[in-house]
Amino acid sequence: MADALIFDHVRTPRGRGKKDGSLHEVTAVDLAAQTLDAIRDRNGLDTTMLDDVVLGCVDPVGEAGSDIARMAVFKAGYDTSVPGVQINRFCASGLDAVNFAAGEIISGQHGLTIGGGVESMSRVGIGASGGSWPVDPSVALPAYYMPQGISADLIATKYGFSRTEVDAYALESQKRAARAWKKGYFKNSVVPVRDVNGLTILDRDEHMRPETTMQSLASLNPSFEGMAAMAGFDAVGIQAHPEVEKINYVHHAGNSSGIVDGAAAVLIGSKQAGKKAGLKPRARIRAYANIGSDPALMLTGPVDVTKKVLKRSGMSLDDIDLIEVNEAFASVVLRFMQAFDLDGEKVNVNGGAIALGHPLGATGAMLLGTALDELERRDLNTALVTLCIGSGMGTATIIERV
């Protein structure tokens, strides 16, 4: 089996995913194409050597529909021989796209691929692609369907995280993200989004709220309580975890991931193909794994999939220098740290989606890039990237520098 080497990573800044967000005027395919442009240009890549572009996208409808990866190839002016495929595993799509692209290398079938993702949440609303999960009784019932936020509250209830604890975690995310930006830790990877004339539209993450305090967080009302009571989702959670008498609603906009627009791309290949293209490997994909997990808790997949990937690769968490766990909700990361008895020192060291935002299809690839940059900056070796996933799944990837 070939090694899948990581040659480079780029991402767009994350624009606020609303009508007043800076990237709202930029099409989804343009966001994806600009990351393809950047990764080609800064590596002097001859795109005829590329075997595939795999992009994650969670709501692949409307302008993001059909096969946005192939469309981005056109828009970026890649050689027409470069195919593209869009995949969807909800919030981990971006990391799964990287894993799929790596798998193509590992299997020996491809030499050079791109994995990444894109989501324009301001233009294609969350949930726009529909699907049977919430609505078809034959699916919704065994899946214990409920909105993610209620699952996050169920996790907080079951594992005992108070409102103060989740808020404190959110505050730390803001602080770490602000510091990382201030110190320029993201500058290697973030490529500004430009207009057709080359004018910069956005060059930094705009969802951050560095002014956040415990007091400002405490003033926010829980977001999911009303919906849970009115639509009966509280009962769904309780019937799945009957030791719970009632759900403690602790999550709100300030300790949940931000809705943003963005895209990312990771250039991956075999040693041989890299050499031929004149690329210098930065890391290799050591292992990856997927798993289905408790659907009602929904967002505890990172715990299960981390156990799985560590076991399969014969590693322990002590072998891991840095960990990125997607901050879908504060309780997700708190549960992860609780399950593995971790303090926060090596987890999400530059903040996460609570401060920076979570462009669904792209986040996984962004986290991988953030981990890689930080390994290099600290001159450490190994990182684990993992995300929780709608309907109860987890994806994890372990990378190590070469």
Binding site: G130, P134, P137, Y145, M146, F233, A235, I238, V244, E245
Partner: protein
């Protein structure tokens, strides 16, 4: 053409008036013959050029009560017989047969001519589905009539287009509650919702219906028109997604996913709304045939329809005794139970003498009726006139001589032998030799209470449930010497107040109290094992019980549970009780004064209508992590404990009819209706598996799970309660 069930008269305008009037039945129902005849009539309407349209009405003051459920039972019987040999063909037969009414109604609505339903009165189930398939609906405003699709209440679901037409007339958010709960709507409400087009006095019903046709009413349903839009919008729209996501969650919240019939409604509606009508109806039929085959539907139809009706009509009444005259009844004790019995009696038009030790107490008892009637008037369920009449039927008094001339006297004083004896002694001088005397008690042995009266043959136990106006069951208890006349009187009275009786023999706690205590006890034992309290409570509800065992104990009163345990210990010895349970109840009720809901604190803390499990329970027993327990096993334990106790009671001869065990368990203490009751639960599991499960629990949790000899014998022989004790056969043998 002449029909047995219908008459058809076509007027000068070419409008056929189809009048449904089944001979020898109080209400019209769809049986095979009625369906066959209606099919012929519909064909005639469709093909006979001289017929321009039709009005379907009823010759009775109700329209139609739905399908004849025994027809479905027969269909299922035929299927089961064939299924062993040719499963595929049997399934096809069941599918084809069970959708006949659906196809017939579809033929009617697409026959090209306008058809109007003229509802003389209540139209339920298939009857309402017939009306929904008509192009226009007129209902009698002066009829007290209702429409509704109550099939889910007996484990089925509307299989003749109800799920599809209602959701094309109303947005799913409005239609689903009617379908999922089987809600019945008064005509006025149905009209306000747009399900009925017009309400007019019964006398104008047919003329109004015809007028709509003459006025140009078209024989095309909205959903068969090209530009039809679903009232709630497409399923895959933001609105539709929200509705169905919430509906699935609410379905689970309300049903704990225990009812295949209700779940099938959800699926039929979701899948059906994605398709045009003909395919949608086929989808509905597929689910209908599927639901018909579920053991839950079979058990629910049997217990909640067939058995309940048989018992309500007096299946256990001694046939030779002439009808009891209930000119006036006496009630001694105007407390909560006595006052409730007075209310239901007066509501049934029976004059009542309500006695208590002083006038004020008696008056307070009567005031209970005034309260309930005032509420009924406020809700539009009764008129001021009716309220006055009901109140005028109740005479509240502290004078026992007012009992003179009563045909039946019910003693409903405090549950204490002495108090009861005193009440009987005071009443005795005013009772004639013919007066039947009943004692309302939930625990005291009837045979010993009979010693308080002159003639034990005329004495019987009647156990009402609280609150009397809501609870449908009455447990009748035969003392050793109770005679047929007393039994007939009790059953005649219960029928008059429109409740369902079960008749049991005397024994500690009779049937219902004794069995429900095993549910509560199992909750206590789980708590002592370290099961998290919320998990115990949720396990109860998820098994299909109306409330968790700890909550129920709070309602019954924790100190009462303690007293009952002490009494049992005193009467039957220390071995008859579990010392761990005794210690828990002593800690709760005696040492900590947590007597239950009435005290505002028990296993729960109460704050008005809000309640929360008492956090201090953790001090008494430290809960273990939820992961140490299997929720499925907890659920099963709670039901097995009750079913096993029922089997013992049956073996002891306290219960003598399997139907009474089942109906009594559902109506008396809400035992898992999906299972059809305690003994149906055992039959559904199979006696062999049940005994194995009980033995497993016996090993793990103690002797209280030891299966009784009868069950062990039945398991060995592969027998079931409804086979060995088949009520049909038992009845024939007795006759």
């Amino acid at each position: 053409m002449a029909y047995q069930n219908f008459t058809v008269e076509t007027d000068k305008d070419g409008i056929a008036l189809v009048t449904w009037d089944m001979k020898g039945r109080a209400m019209n129902v769809f049986d095979l013959k009625a369906m066959e005849e209606l099919a012929a009539i519909v064909e005639d309407i469709a093909t006979n050029d001289s017929i321009k349209g039709a009005v379907v009405t009823s010759g009775k003051d109700s329209f139609c009560a739905g399908a004849d459920l025994t027809m479905l039972e027969d269909m299922l019987g035929a299927f089961t017989k064939q299924a062993a040999k040719k499963p595929e063909a049997a399934m096809q037969m069941l599918f084809d047969e069970s959708r006949k009414l659906s196809l017939l109604l579809r033929r009617m609505e697409t026959c090209g001519k306008p058809v109007v339903a003229a509802l003389t009165g209540t139209a339920l189930g298939g009857g309402f589905e017939l009306a929904l398939a008509c192009h226009y609906r007129v209902a009698a405003s002066d009829s007290n009539g209702k429409v509704g699709l109550p099939e889910v209440k007996v484990g089925l679901f509307p299989g003749a287009g109800g799920t599809q037409r209602l959701t094309r007339m109303l947005a799913p958010i409005d239609a689903l509650p009617l379908l999922l709960q089987g809600t019945e709507l008064a005509f006025s409400k149905a009209k306000a919702m747009g399900i009925i087009n017009e309400t007019v006095p019964a006398a104008d019903l047919v003329a109004t219906a015809k007028k709509w046709i003459v006025g140009g009413g078209e024989g095309v349903q909205p959903w068969d028109r090209e530009k039809f839009k679903l009232p709630g919008g497409p399923v895959f729209s933001p609105n539709g997604m929200q509705t169905f996501a919430a509906a699935n969650a609410l379905y689970r919240k309300e049903t704990f996913d225990l009812y295949p019939g209700i779940r099938a409604v959800m699926s039929a509606v979701y899948e059906g709304l994605l398709m045009p009508m003909d395919i949608a109806l086929r989808i509905e039929s597929r689910y209908f045939a599927h639901v018909l085959r579920t053991p839950q539907a079979a058990a629910m139809i049997r217990s909640l329809f067939i058995s309940m009706q048989a018992l309500s009509k007096g299946a256990r009444r001694p046939a030779k005794v002439p009808a009891t005259k209930l000119g006036r009844i006496g009630i001694i004790g105007a407390g909560f139970m006595g006052a409730g019995i007075a209310y239901v009696s007066a509501r049934a038009g029976i004059p009542v003498v309500l006695i208590d030790r002083d006038q004020a107490s008696a008056d307070r008892g009567k005031a209970h009726t005034e309260d309930l009637m005032t509420k009924a008037v406020q809700r539009g369920k009764a008129t001021e006139e009716a309220k006055g009449k009901v109140l005028s039927l109740i005479t509240a008094s502290d004078d026992y001589s007012a009992l003179k001339g009563c045909d039946l006297v019910i003693e409903a004083v405090f549950e204490d032998r002495g108090v009861k004896a005193e009440a009987m002694a005071k009443a005795a001088p005013y009772l004639s030799a013919d007066t039947i005397i009943a004692s309302n008690t939930s625990t005291l042995p009837i045979t010993s209470l009979a010693e308080n009266v002159a003639d034990p043959e005329k004495f019987i136990g009647i156990h009402f449930f609280s609150p009397v106006d809501k609870m449908m069951l009455v447990e009748v208890i035969m003392g050793k010497k109770t005679g047929d006349r007393a039994l007939a009187a009790a059953l005649d009275f219960i029928r008059a107040i429109r409740k369902t009786p079960i008749v049991v023999n005397d024994g500690r706690g009779f049937y219902t109290s004794r069995t429900v205590m095993t549910y509560i006890r199992e909750g206590h034992m789980m708590l002592l094992e370290g099961v998290p309290p919320a998990m115990i409570e949720n396990a109860g509800r998820m098994a299909g019980m109306p409330v968790g065992p700890l909550s129920l104990n709070d309602e019954v009163a924790v100190d009462l549970a303690w007293k009952i345990l002490q009494a049992t210990k005193k009467d039957m010895g220390a071995k008859a009780i579990d010392p761990r349970q005794e210690a828990l109840l002593e800690e709760m009720a005696v040492k900590r004064g947590r007597a239950g809901r009435k005290a505002g604190k028990g296993f729960y803390d109460y704050d008005g209508r809000k309640k929360q499990l008492w956090p201090g329970l953790a001090e008494i027993v430290e809960p273990k992590p939820a992961e140490s327990f299997d929720i499925e096993e907890l659920k099963q334990r709670l039901l097995v404990a009750q079913a096993l106790e029922t089997a013992r009671i049956f073996e002891e001869g306290i219960l003598t009819d399997v139907r009474e065990a089942d109906v009594g368990s559902i109506l008396g203490f809400g035992f898992a209706p999906w299972a059809g009751g305690t003994l149906s639960y055992i039959d559904m599991m199979g006696t062999d598996k049940f005994v194995k499960t009980a033995k497993k629990f016996q090993k793990k949790y103690g002797e209280r799970f030891k299966p009784n000899a009868l069950l062990v014998d039945m398991a060995a022989k592969g027998d079931r309660f409804y086979v060995r004790f088949n009520p049909e056969k038992t009845r024939k043998k007795a006759a």
